[in-house]
Symmetry: C2
Subunit: 310 residues, 2 copies
């Protein structure tokens, strides 16, 4: 039996594959989440492989939020400092799909300008590459879509769903939050609410500051839990989810080395949060996430203060 819904789903999958293919050979040499050192190829570097991007969708609802009540605030952000673990290591050489090479700076530089002694004022110059610490990936990080400043504040306050995969992640650093996890959550709690942020709790936040956070394999590649593309497509196509969240530094891992989740999700004018903290302190359903994302014109994401109102 092939139900119309199933046929529709297959069509969409094909459409997704075409969309990824349109990125050119590039996708085949990209790593999950971002671009690791020295993995691009001449083929991928050619701008000729670039398909015309889809017109920007009108994703942002600017809808009034549902009536919300809370009596507790939970900090879902880590404190950012120069030793906070990041995708790129300081000084590591990074080659992009465009075959350009860069050397990342410190994760964040907090350089004193005015100092209490002798200036009687403190003021620092802050410098960072955007995708560090607890931060947003705006659509424009992996697409030509919206930048941070184009997302209205109403869309930064969302119902929060936390899906726990800690048990599996404890045994497998490359564990994926898959479609069965979502369905199992829905069996217990009902459909994922509209306009939700769906966050993966893999238990990874407690590893920050330890080698386990990166869990490097023999080739020096990161191993962290992430989202399965099928779960992500379900959240896009069958539910109206606005944001993803992970307590690791990427939505993708070695199971999706072509950054499928990033390209699909951000390319569809949705956004996400990486390096979330304290997901154990919020209920699986019923909290409201508030993303205090500084509105910097043209930003593709960046550090923020994310909270849960419970």
């Amino acid at each position: 039996m092939c139900s119309p819904a199933l046929i529709e789903q297959v069509k969409k999958r094909i459409s997704r594959r075409n969309a990824l293919a349109a990125l050119g050979g590039a996708a085949s040499v990209a790593s999950a989440g971002c671009l690791p050192a020295a993995v691009s190829s001449k083929k991928s570097a050619s701008p000729k492989n670039t398909a015309k991007p889809a017109p920007k969708k009108k994703r942002w609802s600017s809808k009034p939020v549902e009536q919300v009540s809370f009596s507790r605030v939970v900090d879902l952000s880590h404190t950012l400092h120069p030793d906070f673990p990041a995708w790129f290591s300081e000084g590591e050489e990074v080659t992009t799909r465009g075959n350009r090479t860069f050397v990342p700076p410190a994760v964040v530089e907090v350089k004193p300008v005015f100092e209490w002694e002798p200036d009687k004022v403190n003021l620092n110059q802050i410098t960072y590459w955007e995708h560090v610490g607890t931060h947003m990936d705006a659509p424009s990080h992996f697409s030509e879509g919206s930048t941070v400043d184009e997302i209205p504040v109403e869309d930064l306050v969302l119902p929060l769903v936390v899906i726990d995969i800690k048990a599996r992640a404890a045994k497998d650093s490359l564990a994926l939050l898959n479609i069965e996890d979502v369905r199992s959550w829905e069996d217990e709690h009902g459909p994922i609410p509209e306009r939700a942020c769906v966050a993966m709790n893999s238990g990874w936040a407690k590893h920050v500051g330890k080698p386990k956070y990166k869990s490097l394999d023999a080739n020096g590649k990161h191993r962290q839990p992430a989202f399965h593309i099928d779960a992500v497509e379900y959240l896009m196509e069958e539910r109206e989810v606005i944001a993803l969240g992970v307590d690791t530094f990427s939505f993708d891992n070695q199971h999706s080395p072509e950054s499928d989740v990033h390209y699909r999700w951000l390319g569809d004018e949705r956004w996400g949060l990486e390096n979330l903290n304290n997901l154990d302190d919020v209920p699986t359903k019923g909290a409201t996430i508030v993303v205090g994302q500084p509105s910097i014109k043209g930003a593709s994401g960046g550090p923020n203060r994310t909270m849960a109102l419970v």
Copy 2:
């Protein structure tokens, strides 16, 4: 008649003057809010004038918030971009109380690193001096007190009181929110709630991008509405207010050229917000302010996303 309360108040005022005097001659050459170009003196530059700072207070309550309900979110932040008006102009020479000279960079630099063409990813390097755009002044900006990362998230979600001085500010760019404004507000609405953020609405936000925002005088000095030190001391001493807010870029103006408000308020382990936006869109009482302040270790403040839940 001298009531015990009045005697107490006079004692505190004397104590404040002593505290400011302890900053040394420095205070007499400081300008409101921050340090303008070329105004320091040899005398002020001497670290010998420095008094031992008071031990850091335990200001942060980390208290559960009161039960709060809302159904609307208002963006109280401006979008930050290189032309956003700031205390310092790019390239202007700034001499501090410590007699050191600096040349401020652009208000914010958004420098593309990875670009969609050819990299198929966007990522920028962001650089700024902390006190730009809609931002927090942490206690450490004008004291040896807490940095941004030391303020718990519970203290970033507060009852919001908005006091309107637009009528007076329209006639006088140096208008002050004074103690009579606070008392008049209280006559109508009752005592300022505990743990509140008290924000001045001078109507200045709508001038962003126009010369009126800085309202430079004949000597090239800014003219903007600000807080009167007496109102500020009332909010500290008679009420338990945690944060100040202004829709201009400083709590002080030419009426408090020694930065009295900054030194008193931040020096007492309180914090504040500058360059607030959209205060006309929130009620004078009953909203909750949420300060999405990225937690950067050691930061003396910095750009954030501030919202009101109504």
